[in-house]
Subunit: 209 residues, 2 copies
DNA sequence: AGCACATCTTGACACTGTCAAGACCGGGCC
DNA sequence: GGCCCGGTCTTGACAGTGTCAAGATGTGCT
């Protein structure tokens, strides 16, 4: 992006491309110690640069965390996009989207810990605004395609509910991941939850009690 | 010096009971700026004491946050307990529990922001260990009473799913509460979600796909 | 070659959490 | 009463943190 003509090879200056290195170091650090264990100086230390170096790429400490969040949303969007595209049966798309979302969340705890924390991220950032909304849009599209007989308001309701459930699973299983990596169990849980929510709110006329 | 003799009741010492005041100040601060905006010195400042005063009551900054989390779990447990007790029909108890949980979450954002953050809390704390497990136990009991035909494993699965969904709702709507206080809508959403999950996983033989 | 720019370092400042040591208050003891 | 003692808070200090202005250093362009 800012890094000139994307020259990762030459990279003879001092570091190559610091921005990516700093983001990676931040992700690792947050994954280890949580967002409260994050420290700009520690990140700089791990990247082998001075404490003030990150400021030239991200301005702020918040700027760096925002970049991490954006990368997380990019990963999520890409993964969900592929999952949805690789499945043709509309009913199965929802489950594929759910699996992709939870998988990404569990595989990138350092990103997740930042992505949904307004106090850590610069909400006015352009890239963040662009990417942070995409997952919900994708889910909304799948739900809408799956339920043409529902009005937009009801589609939004179902979308929010499923979105909340997926977020809940990710939050729960990333917090307690150190003592619980019940991946197969979790997969079954997500599947049944999404299926049940699907048949209960879309297949029947539900969504309005 | 700055505080002067503004003592509320007798409480003539220096402050009355500092511990409660510090907890309250922490809750307010976290509710305003999020956990990353928390500062032990700022809390002490708001309470009108020196920066080192909290250490005599909570030891650590983490100790203070842990006390906040414990208080949050106490609130939650009390509210859920009352809700469950005030409803006799087992099928309605689940919904009452869900409402109580979400209500408490939205009403106490300063607590919620700390309760489920292992990096902010001292997990080895006695009171924390005692209280942090209670909400899930309560939910598990309601689910078990509602589904005597399911084996414990399935009960756990359903419990986890509902728990994740409730947490997801709270996380979502406390993060974006500044621009979205759709309380009535949220109430409907929670109701339908819980009902659907109930009928889908318990009423039918579901829970095992 | 030399210039302009991007990149990183240095030094400094205010702020934070934490600790040891001391000051202060209350109520007990003789 | 006078005295000490435990609980409560303050003071002063230290290392660590984020951020900024200024300077140093390498890179590419003309």
């Amino acid at each position: 992006m800012v890094t000139g003509p994307e020259a990762p090879r030459r990279a003879n200056y001092h570091h190559g491309d610091l921005a990516a290195t700093l983001i990676a170091a931040t992700v690792d650090l947050v994954a280890e110690k949580g967002p409260s264990g994050f420290s700009l100086r520690e990140v700089a230390r791990r990247a082998g640069v001075s404490p003030a170096a990150p400021s030239h790429h991200f301005g702020d400490a918040r700027g760096l965390l925002t970049a991490v969040a954006v990368q997380g949303f990019e990963y999520l969007d890409r993964s969900v996009g592929e999952a949805v595209q690789s499945v043709t049966v509309p009913a199965d798309r929802l489950r594929a989207l759910a699996f992709a979302s939870v998988d990404i969340g569990l595989r990138h705890p350092g990103h997740v810990a930042v992505m949904f924390r307004p106090d850590l991220v610069d909400g006015s950032n352009e890239a963040f605004q662009e990417w942070s909304g995409k997952p919900l849009q994708r889910l909304g599209a799948v739900v809408a395609a799956l339920a043409p007989h529902l009005d937009p308001e009801q589609v939004d309701a179902v979308t929010s509910t499923i979105w909340a459930t997926l977020n809940g699973f990710v939050n729960l299983y990333t917090s307690t991941a150190d003592r619980l990596d019940a991946d197969p169990d979790l997969r079954r849980l997500v599947a049944t939850a999404v299926d049940v929510l699907h048949t209960g709110t879309i297949a029947t006329d539900g969504a309005q009690r």
